[in-house]
Amino acid sequence: MSTRTAFSPGTVPLRGAAPTDLQARALRDLGRTGRWRPAEALFWLAALASFFFLPDQHLLLTEVVILGLFALSLDLVLGYAGIVSLGHGAFFGLGAYVAGLVSIHLTGEPLTGLLLGGLAAGVLGFATAPLLLLRASDLTRLMVTLGIAMLLYEAANKAAWLTGGADGLQGVWIDPLFGRFEFDLFGTTAYGYALAVTFLLFLIARRIVTSPYGLSLRAIRDNALRANTIGVPVGRRLVAIYTLSALYAGIAGALLAQTTMFVSLDVLAFHRSADVLLVLVLGGVGYLYGGLIGAIVFKLLQDVFSTITPEYWMFWIGLVLVVIVLIGRDRINAAPLALWHRIRGGAK
């Protein structure tokens, strides 16, 4: 089959020749999503700067970064494959518990726990992915994923001999990173660690979503029927991305367990799954930064509002959400871009 060609070469030059204008244009379009934009560099530089210039905020920032990574993991399935999940907390929580248990029973070395936490979540993702392939509506997927997460929560509650039940897992202790950097009270090591892991995972995710595989995911999200008829193995691709997403969520959970050195049932609770969906939708779906930006906005709002009013901060968050939707997320998301274009236009 591969020996047949649909067309004899026509007006367009053969491969191997120097790229023509047309080829260059086509290649540019194909590589479009993979090219780094100035705003992206700016974003990560700002993240790096926060490590050096905001030492007082490292603890909060660690939480932001972990939530951001968790939301990024959800973006992989929601934004790139169109699968909604209200049970992503299952993977986050499993990663957290595994990382915690590894530190107690195996080794306090952080990277081992991180990896095992991620792997365990990935395995769970792989095992439960077929449930998502049911011919079902978004609502059904939402509830099946939620059901799985709730079962895991109850299981962790029941298995108190292993998990500590409702009291939480006691005795988590993480050794210094690379044997050198102790996890200090200021949260500096923790923030650097979480930030580096998140950046690395982001790079990998970015590479993946701009690859042919990523393109096929976008095709599935856009039109699964057509993707099927051009020979994309839809089921396998979805299982793969769901597994990867679960692994990411597990690593986010492991990061939380390691940086706080504590795991409680909260990591599996319903609000974990709901919050991450909220954060991702808030930041915008399908461009990888949505989760990170949503996490920053959400956590900062929460921190500011709850400092002003520890009792009623939720009201103001709610109001912000309602207003954002009423104004339109598109318009808000477009605003920084428009501003950027104006700045660049003005500079020329």
């Binding site: 449930l131 939620l146 709730m150 779906v285 009792e311 009201f315 709610g318 959400l321 939707v325």
Partner: protein
Amino acid sequence: MSTATTTTRDPALMLTILIDGIAYGMLLFVLASGLAVTLGLMNFINLAHGAFALMGGYATALLMNRAGLPFLATLPFAFLVPALIGAVAERTLYVRLYRRPHLDQVLFSIGLVFMAVTAADWLFGSQQQLITLPAWLQGRFELAGVAIGRYRAFLILVCAALVVGLQFVLTRTRFGARLRAAVDDQRAARGLGINVGVIFASTFAVGSGLAGLGGALGVEILGMDPTFPLKFMVYFLIVVTVGGTAGLTGPFLAALIIGVADVAGKYYAPELGAFMIYLLMIVILILRPQGLIAR
């Protein structure tokens, strides 16, 4: 733990448990029926549904405890207050979001939940709202050897009447026909001279009112505090998803199945306890991904 784990298979007892389960299921249905309409028929994900139940529950609790109204007299308010607020919210807020993506609807309605929860907390405090039922609804009576809680029997009667009424309105009345037309194809319905806006607003109002009534009826059994909308959101969604989005029959069946299975499960297999409802949901959805009664 010892001897008594062997439970009696006494038929009268099983009937008692069945009736408890049906009452619980009926209550769930009334609470979720409005969501079944907005989500199933109008295709709008309204996570704030529980907020209307909250209003109903608080209307009853406050009118009883502060104004001294009798229980039954508060129920019309428990329906009307959320219905009115629902109608206003529908016309001013929800109406802008019908055509928006589901994720926008989720974000918007969860925002409303947050606001409702904190508003209730701010206005009335964070503690449980409790009511005292009139004497004729307290205690139990025996019917052919089966012990039945008076309040549970009352719940079953009221909810059954509501179910019959709803089904009648939806399938047998002009309003029901218009609603179905408006839901199926808004443009065509407008062409037929149906005022889709009014239909949607009144449907939304009735759905909210029913949630409020459910909240009021549930104060005694489910409790009522500001976090009610968050705590029970999942239950409403389970009822609607398991039931299917074709109409009200599916959610009704689903609510009954869940109610009975939950109560019976806790009695006969307590170690499964909290797993029951989720296991049941997953199994049903694997077997019938579109819910019990699909469109």
